[in-house]
Amino acid sequence: MKTSGLLVCWIMLYSMQIMAQPPVPTSGYDFLGKDIQAIQDDEFLNPGMPTVELGSQIFQESEEGEKSCASCHGEEGQMMDKAKIASYPAYQKKYKKVHTLQERIHACWTDKQDRFPLLYDDPKLVALETFVRSLARGTVIDVEVNQHSRALYEQGEKLYKKRFGQMAMTCHHCHVQYQGIFMRGRKLTQGQTNGFPVYRFNSDRVTSLHRRFNECFVELRAEPFEAGSQEYKALEFYIGVMSNGLKVETPAVRF
């Protein structure tokens, strides 16, 4: 008798907990057909792999007098912490700001390797980012909001729920409210970031996250922000938190 009462209590508490939770994060992967999923999963077929390969070459390169990335992080990057890679954008104590993974890589590029600065989304940086994040394939994403990064998170949320452009729609409309629904032949996903940089069949290239944001802005007939802008970083951080619990899929394969 006592045990069944406890059981009922437990079931009630458990279901309350489920109801209180936001919608379960779902990867864009789950919206793809089985055949496309198989391409993403196959190391040899995945068309994003040449970019990973290019990134790993840049990772090992050094000109005279310079250190290569590999000299600190291991020839194949094996000395990097996968859990940490899966936690970006993350607050950096040393820099007193949130870095995206690409910015973190660039910080090594300029500070540790003393190289000439590159623009955000420079093809070299995108290749490096693709390589580094691919090392954490399968690791669960865990982006943390703390007292230093709360303001950026809130800025991201505001942008995510702001109407943009002539379409006057928000990211939230398409990727939360109408996820899973068809918009003239295209099924809307949650717009998660766990696969980025992703290979896109439409453009036959690897696309950075900020470039993907640009495309949604163009769709909205809105003026995009710049790659690496404060606004895109805030969006990346906010969606990063939404992606918590999903696994890193880089290089994912999408349309």
């Binding site: 943009f164 452009g165 006057a168 629904i181 003026e223």
Partner: protein, 159 residues
């Protein structure tokens, strides 16, 4: 000499700006919002234009114009992939009057402030971060709107 050129181009720019603003002010037709049985309504056709249902149907299909099919199912079986975001429109003319449809088409947010349906004839100044190439432009022209309304008025659910 150099100063002259700068002065001259500044003059050109300001004349251009003045003209382009005039064009916008002239081409955007004002409308009056009324209530019909407590429902937002715009009685008079935009710019007093007359709509054409055949053209309206084409605009509803066209991905670069209305693209209504992105979000609505309509009695247009020859087109694949009707959207599922908004309600199906097979019998809208039974449910709404012409004036009510006009308010909905000009700016769905007049009817439902939360609506995600684009304001097809919303004033261009009311958009946030409008892409430069659409500056000063409405989503559809007044003629487009009247054409679509003419088409919607044929949808009485008989199909």
């Amino acid at each position: 000499m150099g100063q002259n050129i700068i002065f001259f181009s500044a003059l050109l720019v300001s004349v251009y700006l003045a003209l382009s603003q005039n064009v916008l002010a002239d081409s955007y037709c004002q409308w009056d919002l009324a209530k019909e049985n407590n429902f937002p309504a715009i009685e008079k056709p935009l710019c007093d234009l007359k709509g054409d249902a055949q053209r309206g149907k084409k605009i509803a299909i066209d991905r670069g114009l209305g693209n209504c099919l992105a979000c609505h199912a309509m009695p247009i079986p020859e087109e694949d992939f009707h959207g599922q975001i908004g309600p199906a429109l097979y019998d809208v003319a039974k449910r709404y009057s012409e004036a009510q449809l006009r308010a909905r088409m000009v700016d769905a947010k007049l009817v439902n402030p939360q609506s995600i349906m684009p304001g097809f004839y919303q004033h261009p100044d009311k958009h946030h971060r409008l892409a430069f190439r659409y500056e000063g432009k409405t989503f559809l022209s007044a003629q487009h709107i009247e054409d679509i309304i003419a088409y919607l008025l044929t949808l009485k659910g008989q199909q």
